[in-house]
Amino acid sequence: MNPRLYPLAATIAIFLLAWVICVMQFPYMLSTRVVGNLLTDNAYLGIVAVGMTVVILSGGIDLSVGSVIAFSGVFIAVMLRDSGLHPLVVFALLLVVTSAFGAAMGWLIHALAMPPFIVTLAGMFLARGAAYMLTIDSVPIDHAFYDLLDDAYYLMPGKGRLTLIGVVMLLTVLVGMIVAHRTRFGASVFALGGGEATARLMGVKVGRTTVAIYAFSGLMAGLSGIVFSIYTSSGYPLATVGTELTAIAAVVIGGTLLTGGAGFVFGTLIGVLTMGLIQTYIVFDGTLSSWWTKIIIGLLLLAFILLQKGLLRVTTARAGA
């Protein structure tokens, strides 16, 4: 096996191992219901994590996505309430807005040579603030088209539901895999992650690529916002606080290096499912107090990262010898 695939393999192995452990304790975890739930409940996270993966692969970071998801929900809800537009039109409008927002952040990052962490932090405040300015209330979405989207699922044997948004997430991962690993744009992303100065000397159009990367992340955040609004049939300015951190954790668990230049979009899917698995396990257990929940989530996160590191060290040492 190509050594660059080791982190991905380690991630998948650990995920499967964790699942086996869960199933041994709660046989129900093997049901299609739980599988369907994992996909549906983490659909918005998976989509936004795909965008985050591309950003992190380029050596950047995007802290604004959680706020952008919230903004998207509010934007859709308010537009549907106040204007007679069809949801599809609103979706298109929204994706334009969020992509432009991402592009603007990318431009700032490039043109002013400011660190992405800070620019997107300001973006995070701005997007959340913009959501507040649209409404401070939670706004329900009441539209026949939404009921349609909501009821679109395939009932798997065992009563598990493969929902539309779950499928959208899987498709997004696929698209993300192609964009990151199979296009010239993707190659430029990896090049930037390998080192901006070198990438520049190799002929990467740094400015254009940076803008495109953050625009892509904005697009994904917008799409995630749409999915989230379908998931909850509403828009709420306080939604998805801290989702950016969950997404980053998922990307890292998925075997992508935060320093950029190495990683896999597919790994991110596994990372997202891992986070979902941790969540599900804790709910199934149902005995943890509020505070132990927090501690255990952190410790499980650490355990995954340590296992991954250990496994990698063992395999590379084996390969080196």
Partner: protein
């Protein structure tokens, strides 16, 4: 009997008390309670309810973090024939999707507080500052609306400043300090209305540090009735609070029991009392009664 309980989080002492009481009530009735803390996130709550359904619990208690967005997951529960009882906050889904809701009327709470102030100032001019809860949260919105309703008839009362204190003590204190600065060192403020007791307790400290006497120079009315506000009332530093009982689970379990025994449909809304406490209601005693409830 297994009951899943999806709690919002542990963001305040009041909520910690609600969690404690729910667990207590479940234990007393021999119910196996599956507890899930959503850390203030709706998405976690939805995921938790889905997991409860997958596990096949007998009933679900839900303290919804926000009013909207529950339709599809409640429908799923209904299809799986698992009754859902809402605790302390309402949802705007169809009433057929849940068994009943136990809670207080948030608007009414604000109204009670407003009416108390109208009575207390008795026609005198009064400039009020307001400490809001977390921007966008339903208690913040409703308690603001309710208070405004309560003082609607009294032209002598006017809200001059209103800022969010995020339901926390520290923010309550910080924002109150800036209110005092902005309003002539506090001389122009006649009363404070805080959306919860924690912010009021923080604000009381700010007022004391500014050299004024809370409860006399500035009247203080807030909501929740947590132990610390009774302590302040006993010391004459706070004037009134509106109770929001943390024991929502008791009525909920009662309703569930009846429903499961013979299918008795409870009322769709079991309203808990929004009782007003003032300095005359034995605050010291109330403090003693409450201080071990896990607030």
């Amino acid at each position: 009997q297994t009951v899943g309980f999806s709690q919002i989080g542990s963001e305040s002492g009041w909520r910690a008390a609600e969690t404690t009481l729910t667990k207590q009530q479940a234990e007393e009735r021999g119910i196996d309670l599956k507890f899930s803390d959503a850390q203030q996130k709706q998405e976690n709550q939805i995921a938790a309810i889905r997991s409860f359904i997958a596990q096949g619990v007998d009933a679900i208690l839900l303290a919804p973090v926000v009013a909207t967005g529950w339709d599809s997951v409640l429908e799923e529960a209904k299809e799986a024939e698992i009754p859902v009882v809402l605790l302390d906050r309402q949802v705007d889904s169809d009433k057929s999707l849940y068994l009943t809701a136990v809670g207080s009327d948030l608007v009414h709470e604000g109204e009670v507080a407003g009416q108390w102030l109208v009575d207390a100032v008795d026609g005198a001019e009064c400039r009020v500052v307001e400490l809001q809860g977390t921007t966008g949260s339903s208690p913040a919105i409703d308690r603001k609306t309710g208070f405004e309703k309560g003082i609607a008839g009294a032209d002598n009362i006017e809200i001059v400043r209103s800022q969010t204190g995020d339901f926390t003590r520290a923010q309550g204190k910080e924002v109150m300090e800036s209110f005092l600065q902005a309003e002539g060192g506090g001389a122009d403020i006649c009363a404070l209305y805080a959306h919860n007791d924690d912010m009021a307790v923080g604000a009381i400290q700010a007022i004391k540090e500014a050299g004024l006497k809370p409860g006399e120079d500035i009247l203080i009315v807030s909501i929740d009735a947590v132990p610390d506000i009774f302590q302040a009332m006993a010391a004459g530093e706070a004037n009134a609070t509106v109770e929001l009982t943390p024991n929502m689970a008791g009525p909920a379990f009662d309703a569930l029991k009846a429903y499961m025994a013979d299918g008795t449909e409870p009322a769709k809304f079991i309203q808990t009392e929004s009782k007003l406490y003032t300095q005359d209601d034995d605050p010291a005693g109330e403090y003693e009664r409450r201080k071990d409830l896990g607030y």
